[in-house]
């Protein structure tokens, strides 16, 4: 039968043209969706991997910041670095506990010297590069960068930011006379009976039990050894470095050699080794007294520190900032 020029096919067909067209369309659609799935799946894989890497790194950075490492004194270098699990947290030697969010500068510097051995495979998975930068909040301090140098063309870079305190430990505070009302040590310095209280005249420092701010002497003893004198530079420092209090002065003496030789504070740290050496004489240990006079005026308050720095410490590093933990921004970067 022929209708309008088309020949009718009466024989059975396996595929009609419609079905074939539909199958082609389905095949194309399936192909496209499979391709899309493959693409999405590979992106998801990438994301999962990146997420896992970031998570592992973030966790390990937390461990690095919050633990002192194994062994706790690994920075002393008594063990091979391969067997050390690094941790930067500072340990309070008296209580044996870690100091919250405070890092030890000695550990940071040791990590700097042995970065790859301590970080790769322990904090960051092997095959990755990383570095840590410590930016001080206080601009008078320098930033510290340890680890690999980040190339300009680095691909994926994971960055972890934390705010921490860094304890320099380059100096030991031997004594502090803190005049500020806010600080607790004021109580300590005011409740000590000075050896000068038994003397008379100008040399007398009357005992002042009151903790209120008033003009007068605040005195504190500290113990010094011959080793301290020989191995360290001992400095007298004030915070702020330049005092508003024009009446402020200080005396360093001992019960054996009590004196009224008062000296004014300068704008820079004063080295005390010779003076202390004279007071100590041949003794291996000595108890020395620091006496500080202040006007007591609340807008002229200042703190006084005597601290020992290892011999040869550059003069520009003799700062009160190095005596107490300082805030830093920690930036940890990992890249492939």
């Amino acid at each position: 039968m022929v209708k309008k020029g088309l020949k009718s096919i009466e024989m059975g067909q396996i595929l009609s043209i419609d079905l074939m067209l539909a199958l082609i369309l389905i095949t194309v659609l399936l192909g496209v969706s499979a391709d899309a799935m493959d693409l999405i799946s590979s992106r998801m894989d990438d994301n999962t991997y990146a997420g896992a890497l970031e998570r592992i790194t973030a966790e390990n950075v937390n461990v690095l910041i919050n633990t002192p490492g194994i062994p706790e004194n690994w920075e002393e270098g008594r063990q091979l670095m391969q067997v050390v699990k690094p941790g930067l947290a500072d340990v309070n030697l008296q209580t044996g506990s870690t100091v919250n969010k405070t890092l030890s500068m000695k550990k940071i510097l040791k990590l700097k010297d042995n970065y790859r051995e301590l970080i790769n495979g322990k904090i960051v998975p092997s095959g990755f590069n990383s570095n840590i930068i410590f930016y001080p909040v206080n601009n008078s301090l320098e930033s510290i960068q340890i680890g690999d140098i980040e190339p300009k063309t680095a691909g994926d870079v994971f960055v972890i930011n934390r705010t921490v305190m860094c304890n320099y430990e380059i100096a030991d505070t031997m004594v502090a006379i803190v005049s500020s009302e806010k600080k607790d040590l004021f109580l300590n310095s005011s409740s000590v009976v000075c050896p000068h209280c038994n003397l008379s005249g100008n040399i007398q420092h009357p005992y002042n039990e009151s903790i209120s701010l008033k003009s007068g002497w605040k005195c504190q003893p500290f113990i010094i050894t011959q080793t301290d004198i020989n191995a360290n530079d001992i400095y007298l420092m004030t915070d702020p470095p330049l005092l508003k209090d024009t009446s402020a002065c200080w005396i360093v003496d001992s019960t054996k050699n009590m004196t009224d030789s008062r000296e004014k504070f300068g704008s820079s740290p004063i080295r005390l080794n010779d003076r202390i050496s004279t007071l100590t004489g041949e003794n291996t240990n000595s108890t020395i007294w620091i006496h500080v006079y202040s006007s007591g005026s609340s807008d002229e308050i200042f703190d006084v520190y005597i601290a020992k720095f290892p011999k040869g410490t550059p003069y520009e590093q003799i700062k009160t900032q190095y005596l107490t933990p300082q805030p830093y921004y920690l930036i940890f970067k990992v890249w492939i």
Binding site: A22, I26, L29, L30, S33, A34, M37, I40, S41, M44, N47, T48, G51, A52, R55, A58, E59, N62, N66, Q94, T95, G96, S97, T98, N100, D184, L185, L187, N188, S191, V192, V193, C194, P195, C197, N198, E209, P221, F222, I223, T255, K256, M258, N283, T284, N285, S286, T287
Partner: protein, 327 residues
């Protein structure tokens, strides 16, 4: 619906399959991501709690010691087993802290393993265990820490003289010193000691403070004994093998086999020296637990103010320890 009753053709069904697969993969990835984030939060949480507890243990330990010491001072009754009592007090305080954490599936267990004397008598060792459980995450930590007995902001009192003098009229507190009134004289007389009158209105320091004059021989290195005078004025305690440690002082003991600390009991200043010998002015000698060991000391005038003479009575052994002239 077609004429044969099908909702969708086979072709449409085939088209929907990839969408299902895609949807399931998405759910699975999202679940894995959530799980890993939850693990991080749990881990941070656990670490933070552990650090909090670690920081709190020495602080709570001091607080417990202080409470027990003032408890002895108030009641005038010594502790029978100071380690056990202080340990229980610390455990109670720490349990209150850990209770605050025990919620939202978190379980915190703290236990004091031991409390013991340290080689430094101004420190007490505390060993503890912390277990923190959060779902399937378990953190177990063993801590060995020290409790410092000296804190200038919050000093610990010495309870021993209060116990020793309770049956002899008692003692009073004047500022940072213990005033014995007549009690020390009565106590020494009851033990048959001669010249005990020199201890009428004697005083000794109330709070534990470590002496900075180290070595102790430095106490005698000035002609006028200014160092000794300053040490007495400040009420400094000195390390001693013979004296009691702080935990034993809580039990009212003046001597023990641990490394301890001794203090001078200072007679009131007098206008003239009437006695050249009297019981030795060191607490573990005067309050000796053994009646045969109160030994005399020779008069040592360390300061004169107008007509008032300040003196101690020390035996040769203690004079040697503090670098003071022999009898």
């Amino acid at each position: 619906m077609d004429q044969k009753g099908y909702v969708m053709t086979g072709m449409s069904f085939l088209l929907i399959i990839p969408i299902f697969v895609l949807f399931m993969v998405l759910i699975d990835i999202n679940h894995a991501n959530t799980e890993s984030k939850s693990l991080i939060i749990k881990s941070d949480n656990v670490l933070q709690i552990s650090r909090d507890l670690e920081y709190n243990i020495p602080r709570v330990g001091r607080q417990a010691l202080k409470e027990e010491a003032y408890g002895v001072i108030r009641s005038r009754k010594p502790l029978v087993n100071s380690k056990k009592t202080v340990k229980e007090n610390i455990q109670l305080k720490m349990d209150k802290i850990t209770q605050n954490y025990n919620k939202d599936g978190l379980k915190v267990i703290y236990a004091v393993r031991s409390l013991k004397e340290s080689e430094d008598p101004f420190l007490i060792e505390i060993n503890s265990t912390i277990i923190i459980v959060k779902d399937n995450l378990v953190h177990e930590q063993y801590l060995d820490q020290n409790i410092s007995l000296y804190d200038p902001k919050d000093p610990l009192p010495d309870p021993m003289p209060f116990v020793k003098c309770q049956n002899y009229g008692g003692v009073t507190i004047n500022g940072s010193r213990i005033c014995y009134g007549h009690s020390l004289v009565s106590y020494l007389k009851s033990r048959g000691e001669i010249n005990s009158e020199v201890y009428e209105n004697a005083t000794s320091p109330l709070f534990i403070k470590k002496c900075p004059y180290d070595p102790f021989k430095a106490h005698g290195d000035t002609k006028n004994l200014d160092t000794l005078k300053n040490c007495i004025d400040n009420g400094y305690y000195h390390e001693s093998n013979d004296a009691a440690c702080y935990l034993c002082r809580l039990e009212g003991k003046s001597t023990c086999y641990h490394q301890g600390m001794e203090i001078f009991i200072v007679p009131a200043p007098q206008r003239n020296v009437s006695f050249f010998k009297a019981p030795c002015s060191v607490d573990h000698v005067i309050f000796s637990d053994n009646s045969t060991t109160i030994y005399p000391g020779g008069s040592l005038q360390y300061y004169v103010k107008g007509s008032l003479i300040f003196q101690l009575f020390l035996d040769d052994s203690h004079r040697k320890k503090y670098g003071l002239p022999p009898i």
